[in-house]
Each structure stands twice: as structure tokens, then as C-alpha cells.
Amino acid sequence: MREPPGTIAESVEISIPSDARYVRLVRLATSAVASIVDADVDTIDDLRVAVDEMCAALIEVARGDKISLRLWLDGDTIGIEGTTVLGDAAALDAERFSLSDQILRVITDDHEFGADGNGSCRFWISRSLAPVQV
């Protein structure tokens, strides 16, 4: 598992209630970060989808009432990490996220979703600012 860099001055942190209505807030914030770092229109669209899939998955498996996200730039790659307190570990079944996973395989350079062993669930994506060819 690639770790996000330890200390990054320029990172954005967001925590939202574990409630689907707040995912739009995260999409908007992600678009704002992506335009600040000069991502192109298609990359911004992909990042909106990626962070949306991340939030939707975390909300689905969350026990806690909060989803925490961090967005950062590492060279020319945007990393987004989301965590929550894991409820039912059985909810982490791959079948249920297969369409989401299929999309993330195309629109991110790397992504990972799973329990971290400490009762938390962690979703992580990275996406270079150069457009991905479909």
C-alpha cells in the first residue's frame, strides 16, 4: 500500500456526516482543488467521479457518523484518502462494488479500499494530472 506523504503543507481536509447528501460538497471541494492545481476539464470530471465513488462506498460500510477525507498534491499526482469507522466488515464485499471498481480502474492511476485492521476503513486513490486515455 503506497502511503500518502507524511507532511504536506498544501493539503485540504474535509469531514462530513455519513450522509449521501454531503457527497456533493466533497465533489465541489475536489473540483476546486483540482482547478487550483490546473487540472484539465476531463481530469476534473474523473476526480469528481472518483471521490464520489469513494464517499459512497465509505458511507455504505461506515458505522460511525463521520467520513474524513484528505486531498493533497504529490508532484503532479493528486491523492485522496478517505476513512471512516468500519461497521459491518461483511459489507466490504467486492461484488457490491464491482461497477464502482470497474470505473475506478479506468479513471484513477491507483486505488485501494479495505479495512485497516484497527476498526477503520480506508479508501485511497491517486490520479496524475495528465489525462488518462480510455
Partner: protein, 139 residues
Amino acid sequence: MPVVRPAQTLAPDSAPSPADLAGMVSRMSEVSPPLSVRVERSSSTITVQVNGEIDTATSPELERLVRQACNDDARAIVELDLSGVGFIDSSGLRALVVTQQAITESGGSLRVVRPSSQVERLLELTGLGETLLGSDRRG
């Protein structure tokens, strides 16, 4: 909550200028509701024009609104106009597939027409375009 809203009053002959459009864009984007539909019925087709974003928060409402639009007609031929949809995710795609299956099973049909660029990209990369668009491919 999303509602069936009347047609917007934006006739072609009162087209906004680029600057007005930019101002509207900023204002609308901050405040526009997540999802609304506009339904038009002809003798042959029910056109459901969707505006907004289709995600886990809004896709149950979209399913409800589409089923409501073809309530009286088990053999409804539905065209789902997604030109006004700025965002769709996997849950939205699943809602479209489920709705299409339900309408098909009852003897009707549903296809997506005029997908926005973001919708089209997701239809393409998931391979669901074939099922959902039918023969309608964007020019």
C-alpha cells in the same frame, strides 16, 4: 427534495448573453437543486428530461420520478434525456439499468438520449452505453 418542475422560461429568442450566462452559471451552480425532471408526452413517447446530478442521494428519487412519469402506461416508450445531467456515478448508472429492466419487463422500453459528456464517458467506460443508449449515439 427533487420535484417535477415546470419548464424553464428560457426561449431561444431570449437567449442569455455569454456574460449573463456566466453570472447565471455561478449563481445556479451554487443553489440549483440536486435533481429535477420535466416530463413531455407525445402520442408515441414519454420524454423525461433530467436536470441535476445523479448520485446515491438522488438516484432513488430519479427511479421514482421516471416510474411516476409512466404510471398509467405499462407499455410506455420512455426517452430519458440526460443532456442536463452534469454528473452521474455508478449508483446512478445502476438506477438507470434497474429502471430500464423494470419498464422492459412490464412491456415498455427505456433508452437514454442526449447524454451529457460526463454521462457519455461513464456509459462508455462501463460498457453500459450499448444497453442504455440503444441506437442513439451522440453526433
